[in-house]
Symmetry: C2
Subunit: 297 residues, 2 copies
């Protein structure tokens, strides 16, 4: 089954397009995992504590989300030991029947892009396939030959990609909104073309787009330009966007989106009496309710 | 000493701007390292063979190049074991008094960019500092707040960055040459501004730019736009550019550039009688001679 169809089914099954980003800032991991913040812990102990926390988060949320989005940077910061936890956390998410969107934002010339596509989507001969991602985020700056190996990997492994079209951060304006058509609009048109050969039965492609929820007007016009593209909408919660800001990305029936929150779910504000599980669980329930009220699936 | 000054000194000392890219395609590693291509080898054995080859390359070339440029994708393809070799190879290059430019092409929102800058330039508290890079390549699509953490890391660790301005691959045209000014020109102007606070005594900044040697006319005009920016010029050799194509990037005295060749040095054409070391050594000498003839330092 194509990634597009697997994702659409999973969102329907879980009843929400909420996506939880796994961004393990070491200094914000709950004190229940003390080695994560212990300056005397070894890198391997720090990494294991980070992995313990993320696996516990996965167990807590697996019945309420379709997918998780681990952010590679926070694993790479702990080197090889961090990457070992990346693999552990992804396998754990798959064991919990979650889809995994690897937030790697890779982009390179064709031969190198092929190596990244193998690393994260199709796998080298000796890898444990449970450690591969179902989809990854991709940076399109290098153009078509940097994307082609990922499209081939999507076909080979029924995987997906989310191409950066308009990012949620303050600096996103600097290049992405310049020109006429804007760079984001040019990329959006390319996303549609790249996705045509990878349509699922659900009417959506396995080639998706990242569009920041912090720019609702642009989201609306980019959605019009990409009517069959699954959107990954970052910026909800800690970055300032609310449920009403993501609604312009919904297709009829509230379909076709994943709305990401990372810090808002992993590190919600809480008092000393509230266990982290309760705070995280409540934050996720509030996000699911807000998205449902805004018309999401 | 700033990265700009350390690099300028090293190029003068070694007498060449030749840069060797460490792109370990497993299937092209010489048969003297059999586990690299053995389908029955474990991932750990494959990774170790890859590391053995790259360390041998470093020993062979260290007296003739200022720096090496490992490409992250080919390490990540072997997961945590591959990343362990990434760290080993970088430490080995530093032990051989080489500068290391990590070709990671990372780019993400500010908080995540900060994690990448820590991972590759400044290091987490527990890391072995010999495994850090002197500079990394950075993708600027996300704009200023995706670059700021790298600039801070450059100041903190006397490190450098090379920002993608115009890439060497066929698809580079798709977005980079569009608009007026073009996207590449906009990025070049930003590179100049970002680099102003990081000038070395040599008159060059520690904020560099990647400009493909496969586009000599654009290289010439981009060099005019970025007169104090160290350039990293990929595309020499296997991608088709020759010494005359990189010359428009030289500053007076043939300074201010690194010219990269990866596959042309690591996997030169050779007959069965020629040991890989002889072929690689000869390919590097030819590249150095060609660059010198074209007016490089």
């Amino acid at each position: 089954m194509t990634f597009a169809d697997r994702l659409d089914n999973a969102i329907t099954l879980k009843g929400s397009p909420a996506l939880v980003g796994l961004d393990p800032f070491l200094e914000r991991i709950p004190p229940e995992f003390p080695a994560a913040r212990d300056p005397n812990a070894s890198r391997s102990e720090q990494a294991a504590a980070m992995g313990d926390f993320l696996c516990a988060v996965i167990d807590l949320i697996a019945d309420r989300v379709a997918a998780v989005k681990p952010q590679a940077a926070f694993f790479e910061i702990l080197g090889a030991e961090g990457v070992a936890q990346w693999e552990r956390v992804i396998a754990h998410a798959h064991d919990a029947d979650l889809l995994v969107i690897g937030d790697v934002k890779r982009g390179d010339i064709g031969s190198t892009a092929g190596a990244y596509a193998t690393a994260y989507l199709t796998g080298s001969a000796q890898c444990d396939r449970r450690t591969l991602c179902d989809a990854v985020t991709v940076n399109p700056l290098l153009g078509h030959d940097s994307i082609t190996p990922f499209l081939e990997a999507c076909r080979e492994a029924d995987a997906g990609i989310y191409i950066l079209v308009r990012t949620s951060n303050p600096g996103g304006d600097q290049f992405q909104t310049k020109g006429d058509p804007t760079l984001s609009e040019r990329i959006a048109d390319a996303v549609v073309a790249w996705g045509e050969e990878l349509m699922g039965d659900c009417g959506l492609s396995s080639v998706g787009a990242v569009v920041g929820a912090t720019h609702p007007a642009e989201l609306k016009s980019l959605r019009k330009r990409m009517p069959h593209t699954p959107l990954l909408l970052p910026g909800y919660g800690a970055q300032g966007a609310g449920a009403e800001d993501v609604a312009p990305g919904f297709l009829p029936g509230g379909r076709g989106v994943l709305v990401n929150s990372s810090r808002g779910i992993l590190y919600p504000q809480r008092d000393d009496q509230t266990p982290w599980r309760d705070a995280t669980s409540k934050a996720l329930d509030q996000m699911r309710a807000a998205l449902a009220a805004a018309g999401a699936t």
